[in-house]
């Protein structure tokens, strides 16, 4: 017979302190992560935001976003006033005042002007690689979720996706370099010495030459697309599978073909999900540096990608600046001084804001999606 009084605890519950300690420890650990993230972000915002925002109207200074990247010249005039001018304004100054009016001159590479070049390059790389990856990735996902039955082929595809997803990005860089930069075929009139095989086309002098695309926007997009492909496939397949089986059954039962069913009853409902997860994939593509180091990116370039080219093919086959590579250059190749901080923190701030917007967008879209599409 038990004594009901034992049900009433005297004082604090058993193991109260142990519970408390464990919970406090765990929450401490968790909030320290949040705190560190906040500190890092705060540091970048505090140092980077002044590049774009000012205290007086109009509050925003878009010059950093719209100007080209240049070398920064820091010098004094004869009165001891300090000037910080990007290369173009500097040469104008020299022409006007003469070289003897420059004292204590120092130059800082990549630190003057703005970052329109890297922004444009990253935008092109992202758009190009996402278009490729979405086209091939969504198609593959459709096959996996709508057509595939258990077979050795499907097994191999799944294994390939799993493995591709784990490959380090630098290995994708090696792959892109050895395939897209050096080997893939091009149609040209004068094949390079490097070409490992040329096939005459019988149309004037044109040949198919396996000489690669060199380091170019194309090669970079292709490399990035290969890297992101498994992510897109997995996310798209998940969205496709989230569409209830009943939709397909109903459509098929009414005599629609499989393709009609997919086009009318599956894709429209899974598209929001696919696009949401694509946003996260964009942050990854835009942020990767290792795969584009040898396949597309260049540290300094005077023209924007679309300037001084003949036709879109020329854009695709020329190198571009890229925001992550630009940040790498700013962090690794130039010293940290009060004159380079603007470029350094400004670029990182812009980049981080872009990433934050994209990931916030995906969080919001996802929660919207969850509340909207419930079946």
């Amino acid at each position: 017979m038990f004594d009901p009084e034992t049900l009433i605890r005297k004082g604090l519950p058993k193991g109260h302190f142990k519970d408390r300690i464990v919970r406090t420890l765990l929450s401490g650990v968790t909030y320290s992560i949040v705190l560190i993230a906040a500190l890092l972000f705060g540091k970048i915002v505090v140092d980077g935001a002044p590049v774009l925002f000012k205290a007086e109207a109009p509050f925003v200074d878009l010059e950093f976003l719209t100007a080209k990247n240049e070398t920064l010249h820091v010098f004094d005039d004869e009165k001891g006033n300090r000037y910080q001018l990007p290369a173009s304004q500097y040469s104008a100054y020299v022409v006007k005042n003469g070289a003897e009016a420059i004292f204590n001159e120092q130059t800082y590479s990549y630190s003057g002007g703005g970052i329109i070049g890297p922004i444009a390059g990253t935008a092109l790389l992202t758009i190009g690689s996402m278009m490729l990856a979405l086209f091939f990735g969504v198609s593959a996902a459709i096959y996996l979720s709508e057509y595939a039955k258990q077979s050795p082929f499907i097994h191999a595809v799944r294994l390939a996706i799993l493995n591709l997803a784990g490959i380090p990005s630098i290995v994708f860089g090696l792959f892109g370099f050895s395939v897209f930069v050096l080997i893939v075929p091009v149609i040209t009139q004068d094949p390079s010495d490097r070409s490992i095989l040329t096939i005459p086309l019988m149309i004037s002098d044109y040949v198919i030459s396996f000489q690669g695309w060199s380091s170019s926007l194309m090669a970079g997009c292709a490399t990035l697309a290969c890297m992101i492909l498994p992510v897109i496939i997995t996310a798209s397949e998940e969205s496709l599978r989230a569409v209830p089986q009943g939709f397909r059954d109903a459509s098929l039962a009414m005599g629609a073909t499989r393709w009609q069913t997919i086009r009318k009853c599956v894709l429209p409902f899974s598209l929001p999900g696919i696009l949401t997860s694509s946003l996260l994939a964009i942050t990854r593509v835009a942020g990767e540096t290792a795969p584009i180091m040898f396949t597309a990116a260049v540290a300094a370039k005077d023209d924007l990608p679309w300037e001084g080219v003949d036709g879109p093919l020329d854009v695709l086959s020329s190198q571009v600046q890229a925001l992550p590579y630009h940040i790498y250059t700013l962090a690794a190749r130039i010293p940290n001084s009060e004159y380079t901080q603007r470029a350094q923190y400004g670029s990182v701030f812009v980049f981080l804001v872009l990433v934050a917007i994209l990931s916030l967008g995906s969080v919001i879209l996802r929660s919207k999606l969850r509340s909207k599409l419930k079946w």
Partner: protein, 252 residues
Amino acid sequence: MKTAIQIKNLNFAYSGKQVLHDVTMDITARQVTAFIGPSGCGKSTLIRCINRINDRIPGAEVTGGSVEVHSIDINRKDIDLQELRRRIGMVFQKYNPFPKSIYENVAFSSRLAGLTKRAELDEIVENALKSSALWEEVKDRLHASAFGLSGGQQQRLCIARAIANQPEILLMDEPCAALDPLATLKIEELISELKKQYTIVIVTHNMSQATRCSDMTAFMYLGKLIEYGPTMDVFERPQDPQTEAYVTGTFG
């Protein structure tokens, strides 16, 4: 006859949605009391109020009345919840042994209490397994995974786990719902054996099960206790037309 559990005007809500309305009943010690009723009538909620396992569900709260175990209101602030649950064992609808060995499953609550001596644990495990009529079947593989057992055996293991530290009351929430008829039969036999020692409350869908095992039966409908009395009376001479309709199979 001694009263083990007194439920007085119990009102209960999930996130503001009232699911129990003014339930009042006394449950006698060392008897089997069955809760019957159609799905969603609140019988599971009611049984889960007795060991306050509903606390786990966010938004679930007692909005009025009380549940008393041996005259102690278990919703008091200073109740020792862990001790309460140690004194009130529970078996769930779907057998849910832990992914551990058979031995560790049964010894779980003793280990929680800080018991580490091998000999004592061995004894507790053996007794519990014997009481749940599982000892003969598993004594040679105590350290094998619990998942290797059949469904009925797993459920009996859960019963052994629940009675390992000699609780006062045993709550069973549709213990046979996931079992085949043979396994169900074994559990029912076990229940009649166990009631000599424990106060048993059982929720069941199966009316013949209620007639076979229980001494008292409570019929619930839409969160209200409609009728409560000796099992024979409820099934053969129901007072309430709804009860009659349910036990004769007109609805439910």
